[in-house]
């Protein structure tokens, strides 16, 4: 049952990402939203966590020992090579810079989700 957890401090961006995935033809059974890394990690692992950045979230999930193999695609305005490298080194499976097209999002998520 593919489930997608969308973490972004912008409710609008969470809606945009969800709408894009719904229209992309990728198979998703459930969307879960979180406003920050702490809430996201709590929803992913059911543990209480401190506030954290996106990178902190990736490191914490990878080190949690719980569902630590969940694929993570980071979607951010930070597009520099150093940031992308940092995200990958932290354990992110993919990286997408905002703004993005629906096809770019589908291409990144298509590595981990089946098409309907």
């Amino acid at each position: 049952m593919p489930k997608v957890l969308i973490i972004d401090d912008s409710a609008v961006m969470r809606k945009i990402i969800q709408r894009n995935i719904q229209q992309s033809g990728l198979l998703v059974d459930e969307f879960v939203e979180a406003g920050d890394g702490r809430e996201g990690l709590e929803k992913a692992t059911a543990n209480k966590m401190p506030n954290m950045t996106g990178i902190d979230f990736v490191k914490a999930l990878r080190g949690s020992g719980q569902k630590s193999n969940i694929p993570i695609v980071m979607v951010t305005t930070e597009g520099g090579e150093a940031k992308i490298e940092e995200a990958k080194n932290s354990g992110a499976n993919g990286y997408l810079t905002k703004p993005f097209t629906p096809d770019q999002l589908k291409s990144k998520l298509g590595n981990f989700l089946l098409v309907k």
Binding site: S10, A11, I16, T76, T77, G80, T97, K98, P99, F100
Partner: protein, 175 residues
């Protein structure tokens, strides 16, 4: 390079970032004109989305637009018709400002080293005025004034028949 030249380069990055944003996530037509230093000390607007940045250079990138255009952009981004100025509309304006500033930051970082962005701030109302003055008082015409002693470098855009501007304030940070 003089600060004015650097500002013009950054304005060119703003144009490019705004164009990319409209081609990808907003998907509305977009026309733009050359950037210019705003002589008028009061910029009348309904909505302002601002992101400030720090680093070797510090300043503000701000989107100035009408309420009608903010509703249009938010409606397009959310793929639903919005007629009220809800939190979703403010959030959308903040995201637009954030994406423009984020793209500009990536280019500035490559050239001038690490920079930090603030979270976006959205100020909305009708008939607001932004005031940029050179050390002399200005009587605010409406309820809100934002004071700065330096002029904005404005890049004018038109989309869906609505004019909007992206402004830049930039200064070199003290060492």
């Amino acid at each position: 390079m003089a600060i004015e030249g650097i500002m013009e380069n950054v304005a060119s990055d703003i144009t490019s970032a705004t164009k990319t944003l409209f081609e990808t996530m907003i998907m509305l037509d977009l026309k733009y004109d050359n950037s210019f230093f705003e002589d008028d000390t009061q910029i009348k607007t309904d909505v302002i989305g601002m992101v400030s940045f720090t680093g070797k250079y510090h300043g503000v990138i701000a989107l100035f637009c009408s309420k009608k255009f903010a509703l249009k952009v938010a409606s397009t981004m959310l793929m639903t018709e919005l007629n009220e100025f809800t939190n979703d509309v403010k959030d959308a304006v903040g995201e637009v400002s954030n994406m423009i500033a984020g793209n500009v930051k990536t280019k500035l970082t490559a050239q001038y080293g690490e920079m930090n962005l603030s979270i976006p701030i959205v100020i909305a109302g009708e008939g607001l005025s932004i005031t940029a003055v050179n050390n002399h008082p200005v009587v605010a015409e409406t309820t809100l004034s934002c004071f700065s002693k330096d002029p904005w470098l404005m890049t004018p855009f038109i989309s869906s028949g609505e004019k909007f501007d992206v402004g830049l304030l930039l200064k070199e940070s003290s060492k």
